[in-house]
């Protein structure tokens, strides 16, 4: 049974970091009396929920803008702002051979990226494609996922031949299927976390944010495919 001071916390996590976060929580719970729950959503949705009174203790955004806004609005603690991960883009295509064959035939491939307007990975991907010189020539071939997970599904299912997704999504896959995009052709995708007012007095959330700042965790996050 849990010690008397054990509490529960509820974290709001940007969808792209959900999978790593799940593993981190398992790790954390193994070494702490606290229980951690998370709710997954797009950063924008979570932000809207927080300013409308959502009972979340901490927010793990996919960008830096939203946590900062929350701080400025007095809903989060400034000192708790912390970049917990920096996303990395890859060009991914599970079936390279097919892609090349089709390119040779002149079949117009579909290229998937996340919606640049709503997803930080989408904006970065657009920038990167411009940098590579694929755009604007191939702009018509772009299709947009609602978020990075949907973009992944487009490519994984084969309806889009290739596209840009996060390294964290494909890190388990065959090395040959993806190619890491050089960091210098897009603005770094810095993902910030912040303690929300709701969670500042909660030992579980305090402990967990401290845990996130630890060296050990930083290594783990790197292994997940972040910087």
């Amino acid at each position: 049974s849990a010690p008397a001071n054990a509490t529960e916390t509820l974290l709001a996590v940007a969808a792209n970091f959900a999978k790593p976060m799940k593993q981190l929580i398992v790790k954390f719970e193994a070494q702490s009396p606290h229980k951690v729950n998370m709710t997954i959503g797009s950063s924008g949705k979570i932000y809207a929920q927080i300013i409308n009174g959502a009972p979340f203790d901490a927010f793990f955004s996919a960008d830096q803008e939203k946590p900062l806004k929350l701080v400025n609005e007095g809903l989060a603690l400034k000192r708790s702002l912390y970049t917990y991960a920096i996303g990395r883009l890859v060009i991914w295509s599970p079936d390279q051979q097919k892609r090349q064959a089709e390119a040779a035939e002149g079949v117009l491939a579909k290229i998937a990226i996340a919606n640049p307007k709503t997803a930080p990975y989408g904006a970065a991907a657009l920038e990167a494609f411009l940098g590579i010189g694929l755009l604007p020539e191939h702009k018509d071939q772009l299709v947009y996922g609602e978020n990075i997970a949907q973009t992944y599904q487009f490519i994984a299912s084969g309806v889009a031949e290739f596209g840009m997704v996060a390294l964290s999504q494909v890190i388990d896959q065959a090395k040959a299927s993806y190619e890491i995009v050089p960091d210098d052709i897009y603005k770094p995708i810095k993902q910030d976390m912040v303690m929300l007012n709701h969670g500042q007095a909660n030992p579980a959330s305090v402990d967990f944010l401290n845990f996130m700042r630890s060296e050990k965790v930083a290594d783990m996050i790197k292994n997940f495919g972040y910087k």
């Binding site: 959900a18 949705k45 809207a48 409308n52």
Partner: protein, 229 residues
Amino acid sequence: MEISQTDMAAIWLTLRLASTVTLLLLLIGTPMAWWLSQTRSKLKAPIAAFLALPLILPPTVIGFYLLVAMAPDGVLGQLTNGLGLGSLAFSFWGLVLASMIYSLPFVVQPLHNAFEAIGARPLEVAATLRATPIDRFFSVVMPLAKPGFISAAILGFAHTVGEFGVVLMIGGNIPYKTQVISVKIYEHVELFEYEQAHYLSVLMMGFSFVVLLGLYLLRGTKTKFGMRF
């Protein structure tokens, strides 16, 4: 495959939500549909069209507007706080309210049609047999409109189960509290846990199929006028 505790909780929550919403919608949709079927007001068509509008907006957008309304300084939030009920957002009853708004047209439409199809004669007959208006409604209108009620229940129930955008927005995907099965499946997909997602989907379809089949069987085969042999 193991079914996790949060999955079970989500299934249970979903069934509770869908049943509650369906029942409440039948309760409030019935007088609305009855009014629509009986009125000769010029406002009838506009009001009927208005009731279908929640369908037009994407669920997340409705969810967003509802969220704003339910916030402590929103219209609904002030109301519920004033009544000492606390905030509706991120609570079961918030989900209920949101789902009701979203599923209302699916309940009102079939009822409206069913009521209209009855015509005036059975009501007139009942009146000559000393049935009061209320009595007429329960003893004549309701049984004659049974297929309409079943359809309303089917559409209302199924739609609430499948609903996702609104629920995600209002509920905040909080395990054990507002995390319904549709959101849970979404979560599995986001976590690349496709196998669990399939599994849950199939499970839910199985559950729902049983409920829907039950409703359909309840509906019965109408004996046909004139089919005598």
